[in-house]
């Protein structure tokens, strides 16, 4: 069953061109939503101003090839493996949701445009499943409302929940439609997908663009010596540090030992 292209089952009632038009409409809705979101939040102005301020403070400007390598590092760390999450549960949930979504969207487009099944259909089901598992994990156990603020999982608010709920709706109804062949499930799947794309302006879909850019900007700022206006933590055993900060050798010795992981010893779970 999971090797069958689910879109083939509705091909009699809906022509391929209609489905292609729907996919294109969803892409347009997302692009327009992201652009409106950027304009509303003045994201470009914010990042431009920050870049300008940091380049003024730069001590050792870096070359474009070094910037490219930092961009690659941002893509491999922050984008592909969500390394910014220090909480491993959140990181895993985010990875499952992100990769599930990407695989689901790409395979949906391939199956609609080419009519292919087989491996694409298997990947489509796995993508939806991964999206659903990561999403429900977040919904019931990880999100701040439930985990920290003591709210019940069924208390909803539009702005905070429309993104995750439409994602969950899309993946859940897609799987139910595929397994039951029900038109009701198909209609709910289409509805959830439309809500997801149409509410981009109010939801958090835009974070996939500004979060990686913020991480890249931070990396460049550190490489150039501006360090986001943060202080340097030098090697404590160097003679230069001993001369500049005499408190260090006096109280900690000339070669201070490792003092342990400190606050990172346990995850933040006491609230």
């Amino acid at each position: 069953m999971i090797t069958t292209n689910p879109f083939a089952s509705v091909a009699e009632a809906l022509s391929q061109s209609t489905m292609i038009m729907f996919v294109i409409a969803m892409v347009v809705l997302v692009v327009v939503g992201v652009l409106l979101d950027m304009r509303h939040k003045k994201s470009k102005e914010y990042f431009d101003k920050h870049t300008e301020a940091m380049s003024k403070l730069a001590k050792t400007p870096i070359s474009s090839s070094e910037k490219s390598s930092l961009l690659v590092k941002t893509i491999t760390n922050e984008v592909l493996t969500s390394s910014e999450f220090s909480n491993q549960k959140r990181r895993l949930s985010h990875l499952m949701t992100m990769y599930g979504f990407i695989v689901f969207v790409i395979t949906s487009a391939i199956m609609i445009f080419t009519g292919a099944g087989g491996i694409w259909a298997v990947l489509w089901h796995l993508g939806a499943l991964s999206l659903a598992i990561g999403g429900y994990w977040f919904w019931f156990g990880i999100r701040a409302d439930v985990a920290a603020e003591g709210k019940k999982w069924y208390k909803l608010s539009f702005r905070s929940d429309v993104f995750i709920l439409s994602l969950l709706g899309m993946s859940t109804f897609a799987l139910l439609w595929s397994f039951t062949g029900s038109w009701l499930m198909f209609a709910l799947f289409i509805l959830a997908t439309t809500v997801l794309a149409a509410t981009t302006f109010w939801s958090k879909l835009g974070h996939m663009f500004f979060k990686p850019f913020a991480a890249y900007q931070k990396k460049v700022s550190f490489a150039e010596g501006a360090r986001e206006k943060l202080p340097d933590v030098p090697d404590l055993s160097s003679a230069e540090v001993h001369e500049k900060y005499p408190d260090i050798p006096e109280y900690m010795g000339k070669n201070p030992p490792n003092m342990g992981p400190g606050i990172r010893r346990e995850p933040a779970r006491h609230y």
Binding site: N87, E149, P231, D232, P234, Y251, M252, N258, G260, I263
Partner: protein, 160 residues
């Protein structure tokens, strides 16, 4: 000055919520990023600023050590056992960096072992004094406590 959070840097991990002694750092349920729910109640202890793994929280310093528009940022490195500060004026010309040992005991060594402490009796339970209140801060028992009256001496330096 109370703390504030840079929303683009925060990832909503909750370290600041965990450590805040006033319980005023919360995660916003809409944006799922940290924020100070009651700036008036902030002690300015900088705990959240130092605990944030993304350096997403800042505090504006007072005008007596830096004029308006400056930046005061801090990094706490527990493994090295130091705390570093950087104070920068608005025009960027004054740029100080400071580095000092963390003048506390190593993590985990200063936690009182309360389960081994003696259980309070009824008189202690009904007393206005706090359980296990250090005798050195009590004035109703032997007058003002001093190092000398308690046979203690001041040690020089910082002990780890």
């Amino acid at each position: 000055m109370p703390t504030f959070v840079y929303m683009t840097r925060c990832d909503g991990c909750g370290e600041c919520v965990d450590i805040c002694p006033s319980d005023i750092m919360h995660i916003d349920t809409v944006t799922r990023r940290a924020y100070n729910i009651e700036p008036n109640m902030c002690w300015e202890c900088y705990s959240c600023v130092k605990a944030c793994p993304h350096n997403a929280i800042d505090v504006r310093g007072y005008a007596d050590f830096a004029p308006l528009g400056h930046s005061v940022r801090v990094r706490r490195d527990e493994e090295k056992g130091v705390i570093a500060w950087r104070i920068m004026f608005r025009n960027g010309k004054k740029d100080w960096e400071l580095l000092a040992p963390i003048t506390t005991k190593p993590w985990g060594t200063g936690i009182p072992n309360l389960k081994e402490a003696a259980e309070p009796d009824d008189s202690m339970r009904n007393s206005h004094l706090l359980y296990n209140e250090p005798k050195y801060i009590r004035l109703d028992d032997g007058g003002l406590h001093t190092l000398e009256s308690n046979g203690l001496t001041m040690k020089e330096g910082v002990y780890y």
